[in-house]
């Protein structure tokens, strides 16, 4: 077997070992990574920044722990920015294993800012059939959510008394790892003209540029890089601080850099080996 053929038939566990070593070494000896903030992320940040105390922003959180790395930092950064500005939050979760993720974010951040459930934020909880739930919310939040996540009737919550449907929220930011985003675009924005921005995983980001260009969404936070860009802006705005460990996505960006370099090298080596072994034949 020639060198190139041996290279092509390498046990995949050697590849895993190289990736593992690169990630661990970068995690231990980290470095700063320069960030370029894209217009689509900046438009979401600027919109939240433009909200005044008392206005209500809705966050639709539709992800489970599988997408934690990319989407949880977005949820934390946006929630911290809103609570710091005394913007009220209306949250819901339409992913079956996601309600705990929202509870984790809202309980921790509300405690940091002294925010009270029912007064400063309302967490509606989960319902099955996301498309139907969004359509029902567009008519009246009480149809799908007569009670909040904790079992409290919606009408007994001071903040919810001013809420009927999407017309009462300034915008919706949907942070999603699956088909939930399509439902929000189709139903919330499509039928009820709700102002909508989305935060999605890296896998999904490229798919939603047509909706950004058509104006159906006003902002797009894409993957971990998008989350890191948002954290960068939020840090500049004084809403999150590095010292408190609140820049979650940014901590992982150096690993992204080194791993991407290694994967590009793998692609190049793989192709060199392929063409060299083809030439030998």
């Amino acid at each position: 077997m020639t060198f190139y053929e041996r290279m092509m038939n390498l046990d995949r566990r050697w590849v895993y070992l190289v990736i593992g070593l690169v990630v661990v070494v970068t995690a231990i000896w980290s470095f700063a990574v320069p960030l370029y903030v894209t217009p689509e992320v900046r438009s979401v940040y600027d919109f939240v920044e433009s909200l005044v105390p008392g206005e209500i922003l809705m966050i639709g959180v539709d992800y489970d722990p599988a997408a934690l790395a990319e989407l949880h930092p977005m949820s934390y950064a946006i929630t911290r920015q809103c609570f710091a500005k005394d913007v009220k939050l209306l949250l819901c979760c339409l992913h079956q294993n996601g309600p705990g993720m929202v509870e984790q974010v809202v309980a921790q951040v509300a405690e940091e800012y002294g925010k009270v459930n029912g007064v400063d934020y309302v967490y509606l909880g989960y319902k099955p059939y996301p498309g139907i739930t969004i359509l029902a919310m567009g008519q009246n939040f009480r149809i799908p959510f007569p009670e909040d996540y904790y079992g409290t009737p919606l009408d007994s919550l001071p903040m919810a008394r001013t809420l009927t449907n999407f017309d009462n929220v300034k915008a919706i930011i949907n942070i999603s790892a699956g088909s939930g985003t399509e439902y929000w675009i189709n139903y919330a924005n499509g039928r009820y003209n709700a102002k909508l921005a989305i935060g999605v995983t890296g896998v999904m980001t490229a798919d939603y540029y047509p909706f950004l260009q058509s104006g159906q969404i006003f902002g797009l936070i894409g993957g971990m890089k998008g989350a890191a860009e948002y954290e960068y802006l939020a840090e500049k705005g004084g809403y999150i601080t590095r010292e408190k460990g609140q820049l979650w996505a940014s901590k992982s960006m150096p690993i992204q850099t080194t791993t991407h370099i290694v994967i590009i090298l793998f692609i190049v080596i793989g192709n060199v080996g392929y063409f060299m072994s083809k030439r030998k034949k």
């Binding site: 995949r12 599988a66 705990g100 099955p128 059939y129 149809i143 540029y209 692609i267």
Partner: protein, 209 residues
């Protein structure tokens, strides 16, 4: 009757939900809200179907002492323990942050689920090395586009600005155009499928007699 009634229900409910979109009258809005409400109640039972299926499969495996039944027992213990801690100490307050129920979610479910999906990073690196070949013109175009996008996470000094411009161009022009064609296809295909379902041409959901 066993097949005609469901088809009639699909057609009736489907056409009502279709036409109510165009008729802004209060009676239609009320019926529309009822239909949405009922669908959500039915959805609760539908979701429970999946849970029952999974539990039944695990119980059967343990009862028959099939290969790997010990692991199914672990899954069943996990399932029933979560239900127990979700009901017994605090009832609905178990859903609040800081309870044992949420601690298990945070320190057992989240780490395992996140770790399982993080294995994909290794698999994509292995796939990039073993399978990603510039064999044809089309594969080369895909490869070049992918590498330009991947390089946006690598500091390239003075070339970073050029790379960012190229990434922005790729995402907002050819990628956007390609995905627009894709969404147009999805929209037309979904509309055609929905019409076929409502007209009773598509009947796969009924299963066999």
């Amino acid at each position: 009757m066993r097949r005609t009634l469901p088809i009639a229900v699909v057609a009736g409910v489907g056409f009502f939900m279709l036409i109510q979109y165009f008729i802004p009258r209060e009676e239609f809005e009320t019926l529309y809200e009822w239909a949405l409400d009922w669908t959500m109640v039915i959805g609760c039972f539908a979701m429970a179907l999946g849970l029952y299926s999974l539990t039944n499969m695990m119980v059967t495996k343990v009862r028959r002492k099939a290969e790997g039944w010990g692991y199914s027992l672990v899954a069943l213990v996990g399932l029933f323990f979560m239900i127990f801690v979700g009901i017994v100490p605090h009832y609905q307050d178990s859903l609040k942050y800081g309870t044992l129920f949420m601690d298990i979610f945070e320190y057992i479910y989240i780490p395992i689920q996140a770790a399982m999906f993080s294995l994909l990073a290794f698999y994509i690196a292995s796939a990039a090395y073993r399978a990603f070949r510039a064999r044809t013109v089309l594969a080369t175009i895909l490869l070049v586009s992918a590498i330009i996008i991947m390089l946006r996470l690598v500091p390239l000094g003075p070339l970073s600005a050029v790379n960012q411009w190229m990434v922005n161009f790729i995402l907002t022009v050819p990628n956007m155009a390609a995905k627009r064609a894709f969404w147009l296809g999805v929209g037309l295909g979904a509309t055609a499928t929905a019409l076929k379902i409502m007209l009773g041409i598509e009947r796969g959901y009924m299963g066999r007699d």
